[in-house]
Symmetry: C2
Subunit: 208 residues, 2 copies
DNA sequence: AATTCCAGAGAACAGTTGTTAACTGGATGA
DNA sequence: TCATCCAGTTAACAACTGTTCTCTGGAATT
């Protein structure tokens, strides 16, 4: 089903990706609302006007970055929630997965944390929509679990939002600890695991 | 103990406050890292150079805004956690308190949510410090409660961080719903209350 | 009453920004 | 092979930025 792009389309996508990558680097030390289009093109080594061949504005670029950062995470989240094993094992695995992802891709994670409540409306909305999709997917996975018996749809969605928010809190904790010592990062992981444990306990006794 | 300021100092403080107020308005539609000093002085109606009499930079202004937004909230948080009544009553009261605060002071709340992970390091640090102080204070209040018997200091701090994070999540939910219908805002309040309820249940069974 | 102080004004600086228009040259399709 | 397309270039625009230095006039101090 894959169609080989012509030389022209291939080169265009390459430039587009270079713009997005350069933006992500520049956004490590500022917010999207202060990112200039010239700044990005300068970093790539291309004329300022070339920017318009790919994006209407930096806000438009931001929306594309949201897709890139979160779009590919859906299967990963699904399998994490579905994972077998005891509750304790699943928590440990989830925390390790988050730690690994943050270490491997710090820039996109930072971008999402920063722009979730940032100053650019279309980007905020794009992130909100993706996170809502995550919560929906987590809910359908949770619904399959035996523990979900007797739960209303509303309560399941409430819980899945709690889980998704907690993932983001954990990710941003790891982000802050990225430059810290391994001991500090271990401490963060243990804290995050305990918080998830408490939520799981609350879940287990919800219907009492 | 209050000392009446001279005319000069009084006028200076007035201008300083005007700069901060104007900044807060401008920051409703952008992030601090894109806020220009001229932009702020123009909004107040003073010369750009007057800015330097009060702040070294816009980052410096941001740190002052953090103090103003969070500094006065410590007693409020203390009493909320200490409040008497059943667990359910305390949750309802806490959610109402947050809803009321967001409605009364949306701009400072938005500023904190936005800059907590924003692009200006000193401001991020100022917010992190204030939130850590909140968590410490919540912990000492929780420690007084009978339910805290048998809890380690670490676990208490873990729980208080969970509560503080949940307050921020709730606040930003209300912020998003500010322009929505009363029904929608009521829905948000009920969701937030249920999430806090689940955490409280987890807390009750933590030592099982 | 004379002196010092200092918040704010004014003017000027070099450097930056987004956006427009007209162009070039290599890939594309007839 | 030849006409068309279009990603990227070049040049120019008015508008804006943070920062410096110099000045002013009223409050504060002596």
């Amino acid at each position: 089903m894959s169609h080989t792009l012509g030389i022209r389309q291939a080169q265009k996508q390459k430039t587009r990706q270079a713009l997005m990558d350069a933006a992500l680097v520049l956004l490590e030390e500022q917010s999207l609302s202060s990112l200039g289009l010239r700044e990005v093109t300068r970093a790539v080594g291309v004329a300022p006007t070339a920017f318009y061949r790919h994006f209407r504005s930096t806000a438009d670029l931001g929306v594309a970055l949201v897709e890139e950062a979160l779009g590919s995470l859906h299967p990963m989240i699904r399998t994490t929630v579905t994972a077998e094993g005891t509750s304790e094992e699943r928590i440990t695995r989830a925390v390790e997965l988050i730690a690994g992802h943050v270490t491997a891709y710090p820039a996109p994670v930072r971008f999402i944390a920063r722009e979730r409540h940032g100053g650019v409306q279309p980007v905020r909305e794009a992130i909100r929509d993706q996170l809502a999709r995550f919560a929906e997917e987590v809910r359908t996975e949770l619904a399959k679990d035996a523990e979900a018996e007797g739960w209303s749809d509303d309560d399941l969605l409430m819980l899945s939002h709690l889980y998704v928010d907690q993932m983001l809190v954990t990710a941003s904790l790891f982000l802050e600890a990225l430059e810290s010592s391994p001991e500090e990062r271990e401490r963060v992981g243990l804290l995050a695991a305990r918080q998830m444990r408490l939520i799981s306990i609350g879940r287990r006794h919800w219907l009492d």
